[in-house]
C-alpha cells in the first residue's frame, strides 16, 4: 500500500499522471484459464488485439506474437473472437 499523500502533494483536481501512477499488474486478478495461441493457425487479423480490454495482446510491429500474462485477466474474449480458432483457453 503506497503512503497516502497530503492535499498539497496532489496535482490540482487529483489529476493522475501516468508515469507517477502505480501500475498494478491486473493479470493478478485472473482466475482459471489463460489464452494460448497456435501460431500455425493465426492469420494475423489482429481482432484479438483490437478487442482485448487490457491491451494484453503482444505485437511485433503489426504481427501477433502472443499474450502479456501480467495483464491478461482471462476474460476469453480473444478466444471467442478468433476466426480461425487459433486461441485456446488452458488451465494455468
Amino acid at each position: 500500500m503506497p503512503e497516502l499523500k497530503a492535499w498539497h502533494a496532489l496535482h490540482a483536481g487529483g489529476v493522475v499522471v501516468r508515469d507517477e501512477a502505480v501500475q498494478p499488474e491486473t493479470g493478478g486478478w485472473r482466475t482459471g484459464t489463460v489464452p494460448r495461441a497456435d501460431l500455425a493457425k493465426c492469420v494475423n487479423c489482429l481482432l484479438c488485439w483490437l478487442h482485448c480490454p487490457d491491451s494484453a495482446v503482444l505485437l511485433d510491429g503489426t504481427t501477433f506474437i502472443g499474450f502479456d500474462e501480467r495483464y491478461c485477466k482471462g476474460c476469453e474474449i480473444c478466444a471467442e473472437l478468433c476466426p480461425t480458432q487459433a486461441i485456446e483457453m488452458v488451465p494455468e
Binding site: 496532489l10 490540482a12 487529483g14
Partner: protein, 378 residues
C-alpha cells in the same frame, strides 16, 4: 478612448471577442441572451474564430466547457437562473476538476414563481460549488472583469471557474457608455492559454477526474478550498495590472464614503449605483453614512470586510436572495466576518424577482428603522 454605448451583455460579448476563447459552448436563456446573441454575430461575421457550440441544455454547456477547458482550449460560456440550476451539478465538477473556464452570469430569480428579472438566487444556488464569483456594478465593470477573468481562472495556483455576474436587465440589457481596450492590448493581457496537464497532450497521458474514496476525497476538497482562498491575492495582483491599462480599480470590495460612517450598507451588484446616490444625498444633509460593495463574493474577502466595517457601529446587509428558514447568504458571510466585533448588524432582503429598490428606500435603511424585508407588501 471613445466610449461605446453598450449593454452589459454586449460588453461581456465584446470582451470575449477580444479574449478570443477557443470554444464557447452555450445555451440561450433570458437575460443572458444578449451575451450569446452578440457573440454569435461576431462568430458569424468572422470577427472571431471561436468554436461556438450550440448545445442542447445548460447541463451540456457546462459539461462541454469542462471537457474543452481540460483538453487545453480556452473556454467560456454564459447562463442565468434556471440554466444555472440545470448546470449546477456540473458546476461543482468544473471546480473540482479545476477547469479554468469563464462564465458570464446574467443574474435572474429562480423559479418559482417563474420570473425573468434580477436577483442573486441563481448565483447563491452554486455558492458552495468552489467557483469564483465576481459581481459587477455596471456594464463597464462587466467588461473589465471579463477581460480579467481568464487570467484569474488560468493562474497556475487558481485553476478554477470564474463567474462574471451582472444583474439581469438592470445591467444585461441597459445601454451605458463602456470604454473598450484595443483588441491587441486585451490579447496581450490574457496571453496564451496554458494549463499543467491538458488532456489532449498524448505524450503525457493523464487520468482526469478520478474517483476518490474516503482516503482521498477530503484532501481534494481541502485543495480546492486552498486554491479559491489564494485566488483573492491573485485577483488583487491582476486587478493592479489591469488598472494600469484602464485607469480603473478592481478591489475585492469597494468602500464608498465609509471612513467616518456611523451607518453603512453592504450589498452587491447594480444596486450599489443607487446606494451611492443615497449615500451622497444623505452626506449632503450631514448624515455620516457609507456603502460597502462586495465585488468578490467567492472567495469571500472576510478580512477586507472586517477591516472596512470594524469602525461602523450600525451596518445593514442587503441581500438580493433569501435563504428560507435561515440567514440570507450575504448577511451570513458578513456576520461571520464580523463575529466578536462591536458592530451591530441588520439583515435585509430586497429586490427579489427584479423588484426595484429606489434611492428613498435605501436612505430609509441608512437613517431610519425599516423592516427586514424591503419593498414587499405586508
Amino acid at each position: 478612448m471613445t466610449p461605446r454605448l453598450l449593454t452589459g451583455g454586449e460588453a461581456f460579448a465584446h470582451a470575449l471577442r477580444q479574449v478570443r476563447p477557443d470554444v464557447f459552448p452555450v445555451y440561450p436563456i433570458t437575460p443572458q441572451t444578449p451575451i450569446i446573441q452578440t457573440f454569435a454575430s461576431f462568430v458569424a461575421n468572422g470577427e472571431v474564430d471561436t468554436e461556438l457550440v450550440n448545445v442542447e441544455s445548460e447541463h451540456s454547456a457546462m459539461s462541454a466547457a469542462i471537457g474543452s477547458a481540460l483538453a487545453g482550449a480556452r473556454t467560456a460560456t454564459a447562463t442565468s437562473s434556471q440554466g444555472m440550476a440545470l448546470m449546477a451539478e456540473v458546476v461543482y465538477i468544473a471546480a473540482a476538476m479545476r477547469a479554468p473556464l469563464v462564465m458570464g452570469v446574467g443574474n435572474r430569480a429562480l423559479s418559482g414563481p417563474i420570473n425573468i428579472h434580477a436577483d442573486h438566487s441563481d448565483s447563491m444556488l452554486v455558492r458552495d460549488s468552489g467557483a469564483i464569483q465576481l459581481f459587477a456594478e455596471n456594464a463597464q465593470e462587466v467588461y473589465d472583469l471579463a477581460v480579467l477573468a481568464p487570467r484569474l481562472a488560468e493562474h497556475p495556483e487558481v485553476l478554477l471557474p470564474v463567474f462574471v455576474c451582472q444583474d439581469g436587465f438592470t445591467i444585461t440589457h441597459s445601454a451605458e457608455p463602456v470604454e473598450l481596450l484595443e483588441d491587441d492590448v486585451v490579447r496581450e493581457f490574457v496571453g496564451e492559454y496554458e494549463i499543467p496537464y491538458p488532456l489532449l497532450d498524448v505524450r503525457r497521458p493523464t487520468t482526469q477526474g478520478p474517483f476518490a474514496m474516503p482516503d482521498y476525497y477530503f484532501e481534494l476538497r481541502r485543495q480546492q478550498e486552498v486554491a479559491i482562498e489564494g485566488s483573492l491575492d491573485v485577483l488583487t495582483k491582476l486587478g493592479a495590472e489591469l488598472s494600469t491599462l484602464t485607469g480603473r480599480d478592481y478591489p475585492a470590495i469597494e468602500a464608498y464614503r465609509l471612513e467616518d460612517a456611523e451607518r453603512a450598507l453592504v450589498l452587491m451588484g447594480s444596486t450599489a449605483g443607487t446606494a451611492k446616490d443615497a449615500v451622497d444625498g444623505l452626506r449632503d444633509q450631514g448624515h455620516r453614512v457609507g456603502l460597502l460593495r462586495i465585488v468578490c463574493f467567492r472567495p469571500f474577502p472576510s478580512f477586507h470586510v472586517f477591516s472596512a466595517l470594524a469602525h461602523v457601529p450600525d451596518v445593514a446587509v442587503l441581500d438580493r436572495a433569501a435563504s428560507p428558514g435561515g440567514a440570507a447568504p450575504l448577511f451570513a458571510e458578513v456576520a461571520a466576518a464580523m463575529v466578536g466585533g462591536p458592530v451591530e448588524l441588520r439583515s435585509h432582503v430586497f429586490g427579489l424577482g427584479g423588484r426595484d429598490l429606489g434611492v428613498e428606500a435605501l436612505e430609509e435603511v441608512l437613517v431610519g428603522r425599516v423592516p427586514q424585508y424591503l419593498g414587499v407588501r405586508s
